[in-house]
C-alpha cells in the first residue's frame, strides 16, 4: 500500500457558505502535508479555481479542476430520517466532476453555464440528466459524499436504488470514468453507506476512491463552516440543530491518517494517486483566444487597423503641422503599429475602437484613461483624448514586447443609462455566450461580519446596529481601530464567553467570500465561446451575465477584459455640453477648451467644490501652494495628491520648488530633460522609465520591465538582475557611484507608488473641463452635477450652498415648475437660475413626478391640491405629504404656506368613495381659511432636510450665529482674518471626514457654515478622547490653534463638542 494520497474532493469558501477556507489556505495546508496534487470542487462553479491554481503553481502543487454540480433527476440531498426533527431544505444532489482534459473542462464550463443561464434570475439552478449526457466527455465522475446521489439513493431506496443510480452514472460517463467514492468522517450512518457502496462497486466492477469531502483546511475551521451553515439557513446557531455537522473531520488529512483510515479497503488510497495522474488538465491550458474583429475580405485585421489609424491621424493633426512634426508622428505610428502587429493585438484595438465608434455615433461621451493615453494609435482611433506626442508621453509604459500581457484600456463613460447602452452593445455584438461582466467577489468585512455573526449568535438587532455603526471603515488603521475596540464601544463585555467568541469569529471570517457580485465595468469578450473558458451566470441586474472569476483571476489566466467604467463627471460634462448652448448660446468642445485665466485663478484659490479630482480637502490644501497656471500644472496637480507621491515624499519637494523655496536640482545632468517639467522631482512612472533609458541605456521595454519588477516585488532574483544591469549601464555612462545610489533609490521608492502621466493627463482634461464649466457656466454646471448625484466628494446640500455663495439663485421644488431633473431657468433680469427637480423629493417615485410634469405641460398648471390629485392619480398620500412638507405645493391655490398645504393634503388624500365621487361639490368645504399656523423658519429647514436632504434657505448654522458669536465662535470666513497660531473657536456642520492611510491617524474634518468651508485637523489623541463626537456628530464646536500657511488655513482641534443637531437629516461624506 502506498502512503501517498491526493485529496480529490475539496471545497473552498468559494462554495459560498458551504466551505470555510480560502483556496490559498487549502493549498498552503496541502503543501504543509506534502501532498503533490489536490482537486478543488466548488459548488456549481469554478469560482475559486483560478486562485487555487495560482497558489498551487507558486507552491509546486498540481491543481485539479472540477466542481460539485447540482443535478435534478437523481433525488434530493440526504436529510436526517423522517422520525427525527430537522430543518433541512430540499436540495438536489450534487455530483463531483473532475476535468481530465481540456475538453472535459470546456464541457464542465458549458454544463454549468447551461443550467445557470436557464434560470431567469441569479440562482443556483441544477443541471438535467440530458445536460450531463451532452457534456460528459473528458469528465470523471465521483459518486460523492453525503451531498452526492449515491448516499441519497441508499438512504431512500436501499442498496438496489444505490446500484441503479451508479449504473445511470456509468451510462452517462462511461465505465472508466466513474469512481465509487468513500469518505470516512467517523460517523455511523456514513459507514453503513460505505459498506453498501463497496458492494455496489464490486458488483459493477468499478474502482473505488477515498476522499475526505474537504470543506475546510484544518479542524479548527469547522467552526466557520458551522457558522456559515447557520448564515446560509438564516437560523441562529442555537437553533440550527442537525443542520450543523456532526464533528470537525472534514479537513485536509495527512496521507498517513488517510492510509490508516482506509487500511481495510484495498486500493481506496492508491487510486487517488492513479486518478490524479490521469487528470492532466490544468488552467494554464485554458485555450482562450481573444475574438477576431470581423474585417472586409480584402483586409487583414492589421491592415484594417492601419487604415483606421491613418484616417485618425489625419483627423487629429490635419495639415496644420510642420512636416518635421508629421514625420515624428508617422514614425511613432509606424513603430506602434509594427509592435501591435508583432504581438497580434490588432483585434483588441479594433474591438475597443468599435465600442468607441458606437458611443460616438450615439453622442455618448467616451474617453480612454490609464496608460492607453501613451499611445498615438489610441489617440488616432479616438479612444483617448490626450495627444501623446505633444505631451511627450512614453508608449512603452502602455505596451512592450517583453511583457507578455494584453494591453489594458479603460474606457470612461457617463454613468447609468449611457454606460448600460455600451455594455448592451457588447453583449449584442459578441453574443450572449460571447461576453460577460467580470465578477466581483463580495467578501466579509468588518460590518457585514459583525452583523451576520451577531445574528447567528442570537444577539438582538439594536445591539448589532449599534455595533455596525461603530465598526470603523476609515482608511487608517490605528492601534485602537480594532474590532475589539468597536465591540467595547458598543457596550459588549469581552469577558463574556459568547461575546469573546463573537469577536473571534468576526476576525476569522474577514475576507472570506460571501457571494458573487458583478464588477462595475469589466467586460470579458470571447467570440461566442466564452462559456468554454469559464462558466457564465446571471447577474442580479436584469440583462447582465457574469463570469465566475473576478478581474484579477481573469488577468492571471490571460483573459482579456475591456473596462467600461462609469464616471459621474463624464455624465456631468455630457449634460453641460447640452445645457450650455441651450441656455448660454455658446458652443463648447470639451476636448478643446481654451486655457482661461479666470479658471486658473479659481483653481489657485482652491475654490473647487464640485470639480473633478481637485475638490478634496487635500487637493484644496495644495492648490494655493502649487498655484496651477497651465494645463500641465493640472496634470501634476491631479497626480501629486496621491498616496504614492505622499508616501514617496515627493509631494513636498515638488511644492517647495514650485514656490521657489528650494533650488531645482537633478540627480544627474543627463536627467534634466526627463525631469525638467516636474522641477527635478520624479512624479510619473513614465519619468522612471526615461530615467532608466537615459542613464543606463535601457530600451523602453527593459525600462518597463524594471518598473514592473520593482513595483510588484515578485521576484527578488529578477529585480537584482535588473538592478545590476541598471548600475552597469550607469557605470558605462560615467555616472559616479553616489549618483547611482540616488538614482536607484529614486527608482526603487517611486516605482511602488508612481502614477502614470498619461492617466493623470486624461484626468486633468476632465478636471480642467469641470473647472471651466463651473467658472464660466455655473447654472449649467450646478444643474448637471445635481442631476448626476451621487458622485464626487460632497453631498448635494454642500453643492447647492456653494453655488449660492457664488451668486447662483437656486429655486425650490414646485409642482408648477419642477421637472424630475433639475433645470436651468431664465430670470426676468436675464440671469440664469437652477430649479431643483423632483428627483430630490425623498420617496417620490420617478414615474409619478414625470406624470406631474406631463399633465402640467398638456393641461396647464394645477388649480388646487384636489386638481393635482385628480389629474395625477398615481400620487399617493405619503408622496403628497412629502411634497407639502417641503413646500412644493405652496404655489397652489388656497395653499399659502406648507401647513395650509398639509391641511388640504390630508383631505385630498382621503377618497370620498364611489358613491360620492361624482358629487364632490357637495362635500366641498365652505370655509377656505386654513386653521393651522405657519411653520417656523427652523421647522421649514428641518422639513427641507428631511424631505430633500438639502435646503435652499439659510444654512443651519446661520440660525445660531448670534448665539455662537456670543460664545466667541468665528465663522469660516472670519477664520481667514485670524492670524496664525491664534486660539480660535468655531463651529459648523460636518460635510466630510477623512482619515487617509498616509496621515498617521490624523483625521481631517471639513465643516461648513453659511460663509464657507473650514478645515479641522484632529490629532490621534484628540480623536481617542472625542471618538464619538468625531464619528457621529453632525454639528460640532471646535476650539484650537489656527494654522495659516501659504493661503491654506486649518484649525488644529484641542477641544471638540457636539452641537445640538436640531434633528436635521444632514449627511456627510466620509471614509474617503
Amino acid at each position: 500500500m502506498t502512503d501517498r494520497y491526493v485529496e480529490l474532493h475539496a471545497s473552498s469558501a468559494f462554495s459560498f457558505l458551504e466551505g470555510a477556507s480560502q483556496p490559498e489556505r487549502l493549498v498552503e495546508r496541502a503543501f504543509e502535508l506534502e501532498m503533490q496534487a489536490m482537486a478543488l470542487l466548488d459548488r456549481n462553479g469554478v469560482y475559486g479555481s483560478a486562485r487555487f491554481h495560482k497558489s498551487a503553481k507558486l507552491n509546486g502543487l498540481h491543481a485539479h479542476v472540477g466542481a460539485e454540480v447540482s443535478i435534478s433527476g437523481l433525488g434530493q440531498r440526504l436529510t436526517p430520517p423522517a422520525w427525527l426533527p430537522f430543518r433541512h431544505r430540499a436540495e438536489p444532489v450534487r455530483i463531483p466532476l473532475l476535468c481530465e482534459s481540456r475538453q472535459g473542462y470546456q464541457n464542465l464550463c458549458q454544463l454549468i453555464t447551461r443550467f445557470k443561464m436557464r434560470e431567469h434570475i441569479k440562482d443556483d439552478g441544477a443541471a438535467l440528466l440530458d445536460d450531463l449526457e451532452q457534456h460528459s466527455t473528458g469528465l470523471v465522475c465521483l459518486t460523492g459524499g453525503d451531498e452526492g446521489p449515491l448516499a441519497s439513493a441508499l438512504c431512500s431506496g436501499g442498496e438496489k436504488a444505490g446500484r441503479n443510480t451508479v449504473e445511470r452514472l456509468v451510462h452517462i460517463f462511461g465505465h472508466n470514468n466513474v469512481y465509487v467514492e468513500l469518505q470516512r468522517h467517523n460517523e455511523r450512518e456514513e459507514e453503513w453507506r460505505n459498506q453498501a457502496a463497496l458492494r455496489i462497486a464490486q458488483t459493477l466492477q468499478l474502482p473505488i476512491v477515498a476522499t475526505n469531502g474537504v470543506r475546510y483546511a484544518t479542524a479548527y475551521d469547522s467552526e466557520i463552516f458551522d457558522l456559515f451553515t447557520a448564515i446560509r439557513n438564516q437560523i441562529e446557531l442555537d437553533r440550527a440543530g442537525r443542520l450543523l455537522s456532526m464533528n470537525n473531520q472534514r479537513h485536509i488529512r495527512p496521507a498517513q491518517e488517510m492510509v490508516d483510515l482506509f487500511r481495510d479497503i484495498r486500493g481506496a488510497i492508491g487510486n487517488t494517486v492513479e486518478l490524479s495522474d490521469r487528470l492532466t488538465f490544468e488552467l494554464t491550458d485554458l485555450g482562450y483566444e481573444f475574438p477576431r474583429y470581423p474585417v472586409p475580405s480584402n483586409d487583414s485585421m492589421d491592415s484594417f487597423l492601419r487604415k483606421r489609424v491613418i484616417e485618425g491621424v489625419g483627423r487629429r493633426y490635419g495639415a496644420r503641422n510642420t512636416s518635421r512634426f508629421m514625420e515624428q508622428i508617422t514614425k511613432q505610428v509606424e513603430s506602434e503599429l509594427a509592435l501591435i502587429e508583432r504581438l497580434g493585438f490588432a483585434g483588441y484595438f479594433l474591438i475597443v475602437w468599435d465600442i468607441v465608434q458606437f458611443c460616438k455615433e450615439r453622442n455618448i461621451l467616451i474617453q480612454g484613461r490609464g496608460s492607453a493615453a501613451n499611445s498615438i494609435v489610441c489617440y488616432a482611433l479616438g479612444i483617448t483624448a490626450v495627444d501623446p506626442i505633444r505631451m511627450n508621453l512614453l508608449f512603452e509604459r502602455f505596451l512592450s514586447e517583453n511583457r507578455g500581457e494584453w494591453p489594458d484600456i479603460d474606457l470612461d463613460l457617463p454613468s447609468e443609462e449611457k454606460r448600460e447602452q455600451a455594455i448592451q452593445y457588447v453583449y449584442l455584438r459578441y453574443g450572449e455566450l460571447g461576453a460577460a461582466m467580470c465578477a466581483n467577489v463580495i467578501t466579509y468585512r468588518g460590518r457585514s461580519a459583525a452583523r451576520e455573526i451577531g445574528k447567528s449568535l442570537g444577539f438582538d438587532q439594536a445591539s448589532l446596529q449599534k455595533l455596525s455603526g461603530l465598526v470603523n471603515n476609515f482608511e487608517w488603521r490605528g492601534p485602537t481601530d480594532t474590532m475589539a475596540h468597536s465591540f467595547r464601544d458598543a457596550g459588549f463585555d469581552l469577558t463574556h464567553p459568547r461575546i469573546a467568541k463573537y469577536l473571534d469569529l468576526c476576525m476569522r471570517i474577514q475576507d472570506l467570500p460571501r457571494h458573487l457580485g458583478q464588477h462595475s465595468g469589466g467586460v470579458v469578450i470571447c467570440q461566442n465561446a466564452l462559456d468554454t473558458v469559464v462558466p457564465l451566470e446571471r447577474a442580479s441586474m436584469p440583462g447582465r451575465t457574469v463570469v465566475q472569476w473576478d478581474k484579477e483571476d481573469c488577468a492571471d489566466l490571460g483573459i482579456i477584459k475591456v473596462d467600461l467604467l462609469g464616471l459621474g463627471m463624464m455624465a456631468v460634462l455630457e449634460d453641460c455640453v447640452e445645457l450650455i448652448p441651450k441656455h448660454y448660446g455658446d458652443d463648447i468642445d470639451i476636448a478643446n477648451l481654451p486655457e482661461d485665466d479666470d479658471v486658473y485663478r479659481t483653481l489657485q484659490r482652491a475654490d473647487t467644490v464640485g470639480m473633478f479630482q481637485v475638490e478634496s480637502r487635500a487637493q484644496m490644501a495644495s492648490l494655493p501652494r502649487n498655484s496651477p497656471k497651465s494645463f500641465y500644472d493640472m496634470v501634476v496637480q491631479v497626480a501629486i495628491i496621491r498616496p504614492g507621491p505622499i508616501v514617496g515624499k515627493m509631494m513636498h519637494p515638488y511644492m517647495r520648488r514650485r514656490q521657489n523655496k528650494e533650488e531645482v536640482t537633478y540627480p544627474h545632468p543627463s536627467l534634466e530633460p526627463v525631469l525638467k517639467r516636474t522641477l527635478g522631482v520624479p512624479l510619473f512612472q513614465e519619468q522612471l522609465l526615461r530615467m532608466a533609458m537615459t542613464v543606463a541605456g535601457f530600451t523602453g521595454a527593459e525600462a518597463e520591465e524594471l518598473r514592473r519588477a520593482v513595483g510588484m516585488r515578485r521576484s527578488m532574483d529578477r529585480m537584482n538582475n535588473l538592478e545590476d544591469r541598471l548600475r552597469a549601464g550607469m557605470t558605462a555612462n560615467g555616472i559616479d557611484s553616489a549618483t547611482q545610489e540616488t538614482i536607484v533609490q529614486n527608482i526603487a521608492s517611486f516605482a511602488l507608488y508612481g502614477f502614470p502621466e498619461s492617466h493623470a493627463a486624461s484626468f486633468a482634461l476632465l478636471a480642467y473641463a469641470s473647472a471651466y464649466c463651473k467658472v464660466k457656466y455655473l447654472a449649467a454646471f450646478t444643474c448637471a452635477i445635481l442631476n448626476n448625484q451621487p458622485m464626487g466628494f460632497y453631498m448635494p446640500a454642500v453643492l447647492v450652498k456653494d453655488a449660492q455663495r457664488h451668486g447662483l439663485c437656486v429655486k425650490p421644488i414646485d409642482v408648477h415648475e419642477s421637472e424630475w431633473v433639475c433645470t436651468v431657468e431664465h430670470e426676468a433680469n436675464r440671469t440664469l437660475s437652477v430649479r431643483l427637480g423632483m428627483r430630490y423629493v425623498k420617496g417620490l417615485r420617478k414615474q409619478t413626478a414625470e406624470a406631474i410634469a406631463i399633465s402640467r405641460r398638456s393641461h396647464g398648471i394645477y388649480q388646487s391640491i384636489e386638481d393635482l390629485t385628480s389629474r395625477v392619480t398615481s400620487l399617493n398620500r405619503d408622496e403628497l405629504i412629502t411634497l407639502a412638507r417641503i413646500g412644493a405645493l405652496n404655489e397652489l391655490q388656497g395653499s399659502y404656506h406648507r401647513r395650509d398645504a398639509l391641511w388640504q393634503v390630508q383631505r385630498a388624500g382621503r377618497s370620498e368613495g364611489p358613491l360620492l365621487s361624482y358629487s364632490k361639490e357637495l362635500l366641498s368645504e365652505a370655509s377656505t381659511s386654513a386653521p393651522l399656523i405657519m411653520m417656523t423658519t427652523t421647522k421649514r429647514m428641518t422639513e427641507d432636510y428631511a424631505g430633500t436632504g438639502l435646503t435652499i434657505g439659510s444654512h443651519p448654522m446661520a440660525y445660531c450665529r448670534e448665539q455662537l458669536r456670543r460664545r466667541g465662535a468665528l465663522s469660516a470666513k472670519e477664520l481667514w482674518n485670524a492670524s496664525n497660531g491664534t486660539y480660535v473657536r468655531t463651529a459648523g456642520c460636518i460635510i466630510a471626514r477623512q482619515r487617509p492611510g498616509t496621515a498617521m491617524g490624523y483625521i481631517f474634518i471639513s465643516m461648513e457654515d453659511e460663509t464657507g468651508i473650514a478645515n479641522v485637523i484632529v490629532t490621534p489623541d484628540i480623536y481617542e478622547r472625542h471618538r464619538s463626537i468625531v464619528m457621529r456628530s453632525k454639528f460640532i464646536w471646535v476650539e484650537g490653534l489656527l494654522q495659516s500657511h501659504e493661503g491654506v488655513i486649518h484649525v488644529k482641534a484641542m477641544h471638540l463638542a457636539a452641537l445640538w443637531d436640531r434633528g436635521l437629516d444632514v449627511r456627510s461624506h466620509d471614509f474617503h
Partner: protein, 508 residues
Amino acid sequence: MGRQALKRPAELYACVYVREFSAQALLRLRPELKERACVVMAGEAPFEEVCSLNTKGKLLGIQRGMGRVDVGGFPQVKVFSRSLKTESTAKQMLLECAGTYSPRIEDCSGDTYFLCAIDIAGTESLFGSPEALTRRLLQHIQSLGLSGQVRVSHNFHTAVCLAKSSSGHSRVVVNSGEEAAFLSPLPLDVLGLTDEHAEIFALWGIHTLGMLAALPEKELIARIGQDGRRLQQLARGEWPHLFQPVDSPFRLEERQELEFPFDSLDSLMFGVAAMLDQLILRVKARLVAISAVTVVLELDGGETYTRRIRAAQPGNDKQFWIRILHLDLQSHPPPRAVVTVALQAEPGNTSTIQLGIFSPPLPEAARLDVTLAQLQALLGEDNVGHVALQDSRTPESFRVEPFRAPSGFDTSAVLQKERTAARRLRPPEVTSVHLDQTRPDEFTFREQRFAVESAYGPWMARGEWWNEMFWDMEQWDVIARAPNDSMLCCCIAHNLLRNEWQVIALYD
C-alpha cells in the same frame, strides 16, 4: 301619554395614575432605598435596557432605553430586574384598594404605568366630598408604599388625561363645564394617539389639547374621519365613556397561621382538609371545580415553601385532593417546620367526557392522576411523561413532556425498517477502559471485566462550540466477552473534554 325625557345618571370619576410602576412596585417594600437612584431593567442579558426608574435616577440623568454599560457609568445606582409578578401583586393591591371606594372600577393600565378609574358617583355620603375622597385615596395608596396622582371629573376621559399629565392643574376636582379649560394646556400624548394620528398632528403643528379643540370640527372629520371627532371631543372633555368595570378579583385563597410550628405532615393535612372544605364550597357556588392547588408554606425562619399540584381533570372531590396533596408533600417534604399554611386554588370547568354506551370502561381520570402522582413522587416530576426528541446533536437531547390526550393516530412515528435496538443507560455508567493504542481493549462494566473482541469506531461528535455548553466525545460500538464467556454488545463513550469513559447503551 307624554314621553318623559330620560335623565342621564350623574357621573363622577376618580382616576388613579401611578407612573414608573415597575420601579415603584419593586421599591415599595424597600424604604431604605428611598434616597438612592434606582433603575429597573428589562430584556435579556447582556442587553437589558432601563424600562423604569425613580426620581433620583432621573435626576442623575439616567434615561429609559439605556443599556447596562451606560447605567454602569453613573455612580451608586441600584439596578433591579423587572419583576412582572411583583407588578401583578402591586396591581392587585391597588385594584383592591380602589375597590374599597366603589364596586365599579375600570382598569386602564399600560405596560409601564398603572391607571384605573373609579366610579365614585353617589359615594359622598360614605366618603365625603370628592376632595375628601381623593385625599383618603391618596393616603391609602401611600400606605401601600406607592405614590400616585388622583384627578376627579364628571367626564371619565378628562379625569384620565389630567391624572396622566404630571404638569396638570393643582386642583384635583374639575367641575362640570371646566373640562376644556383644564385640558387645554396638556400635551397631545395624554390621549394615547395612534402613530398615524400623532404624525398628522405633528405635521399640522398641533401640540396641545387646546390647539386640537380649536380646529374646525367638520373639516377635521373630513381629514381624519370620525376619529377626529372623538379626539377633539376628548380634548374638549366632552367625549362620553361606556364604563367597563372589572370584576372584583375572584381569589380562591385560604390561609391559616398555625399556633406552633408543625413537623408532622399528617397533622398538617388536618388543617389542609379544613381549608379545602372552604375552597370547594366557594368553587361549587360558582359552578366550577378546582383544577390546581398551590400550597404555600411559611417555614420556621421566614422561608416560604411552595408546591403546586394540577389535576388532569378539574374536580371537587375532597378526598382526591387530600390524597394527591399528601403524596406530593410526602415526596417533597418541607425542609423545616411549618408556621403558616396557605392554599391557593385555581378554578376550572367541570366538563365530563361522554363515552359511547358500548365503549369499554376506562379507568377514572382521578385514579390516573393519583397513579401519576405516585409515579412522580417515586421518580421525580421531570421524569414522568412522554419523551420528545429535539433537533440537536447534543447527547441526551430529548425532553420529557407531560402526558396529553392523543389527538389522533400518528402514522409518522411508525418505523419503516427493522433496526437494531439500543437501550440507553440513563444515567450512563462510568467505566474504566484499557486502550490498545487508540482502541478500547478491555473495560469494566457492573464490576465485571470484559475483553473487547471487536470495536467499531470511533464515532466522533461535538457541538455547541460557541458557548460554555461545548461538548466533544467519541463513541465505540464494542462486542466484548467476560471471563465467564458471557457476551456484551454495548456502546462506550469517551468524553474528550473530561477524559471520562462511560457505557451509554446496550445493544439487543
